[in-house]
Symmetry: C2
Subunit: 205 residues, 2 copies
Amino acid sequence: MTTGQRGRPRSFDRDTALEKALRAFWEHGYETTSIADLTRAMGIAAPSLYAAFGDKRTLFEEVVEVYVRRYGGFIGRALTEEPTARDAVGRVLREAAVEYTEPGRPPGCLVINAAVNAAPASAEVAGALRAMREENVRAFASRIRTGVAAGELPEDTDALALARFATSVMQGMSQQARDGAGREELEAVAATAMRAWPEGPGGTP
Amino acid sequence: MTTGQRGRPRSFDRDTALEKALRAFWEHGYETTSIADLTRAMGIAAPSLYAAFGDKRTLFEEVVEVYVRRYGGFIGRALTEEPTARDAVGRVLREAAVEYTEPGRPPGCLVINAAVNAAPASAEVAGALRAMREENVRAFASRIRTGVAAGELPEDTDALALARFATSVMQGMSQQARDGAGREELEAVAATAMRAWPEGPGGTP
DNA sequence: CGATTTTTTGAGTGCTCGCTATAGAATCGG
DNA sequence: CCGATTCTATAGCGAGCACTCAAAAAATCG
């Protein structure tokens, strides 16, 4: 058999350490979380970190991957599972209020808030997160266009503009969460935002 | 005469240098703008900076003061000059779209974006900006309450919730501006947001 | 002028940053 | 058991951080 790992086994659980790093980046952001912060949070020394995860940027990229999969899935689910564009976007905003204020997690969204302040040296990381936010706008717009095609919304609906509005509200909610806003407060923001949703094609059918 | 300044005169204009520092902080944020960045932008050496402005935090505080006075005044003007709460909030959002995308300035709002990512050492600075954002929410809410008292809005209007919605949209617009959104796009976001504004007390009077 | 006051300049403080060389510890196959 | 392999721990690398000391320079005073 050649399946056995040769050499000294790792003394920590990689996934657990990765989750600790995720929390640290989520809470304090990319650039303001130092390697010392990470090693303390992960309970390992610097060389172990570098051996297991590569450098800081690579670790962050893996963190973002895990974050999107584990904590960002609600957006895609809402957009695909709801019958109408209005239900879909409304559910995203309502669930964002819940996700951004989940007890035991850092408030707000990592993709939105982790690299707002970035020195030129971290421009690539900041750009990657920005690209993900833009991809998000496109996902909203695509779902809205489907709704227009289905006759839920007027033909002249500006899907991209509506998508950008929803995204703005979501990003504002994330910052509000970081500023201490509670779940009910964010749910009220989401509900208010949905009052801006256009009426059906024939007035109020 | 004892009016003349004794000693060697300053070789730079203090206000000009302060404005350069303002731009640097506005563009890159508090923590991610180094003293070296500042001295380069301001065109002076470190000891001159410290003699004229104190340490980095004190300089930033003065920058914020100037910023609010010079670039943040549109909010207070809109809230006091417009006849109705709806006109006031609508004008704030519309003008935010303009202010956040003014050519020749960094996009977005310094108070919203300069200290999103802050290490524990900068917690006080981040907290000061957060307090200003909260003060902003209260200013919105106060204007909305005046509108309710004037009979423009239903008696049961949740002024604070509506204020938080407007603030969320504004903060989202600021981040969108930093992500590259143009003026027209932000104006569309503002216009969409205002569709959520409640109707008058008697339906649509 | 000479004395005084203030700023500029250039170098340099201790500290933390991201990252790594090296040596020792733990496990494998044989 | 041995040697090979892989991980861990200490210690430290150069660079950049916020900040400052000491001396030269430039102005006003009598």
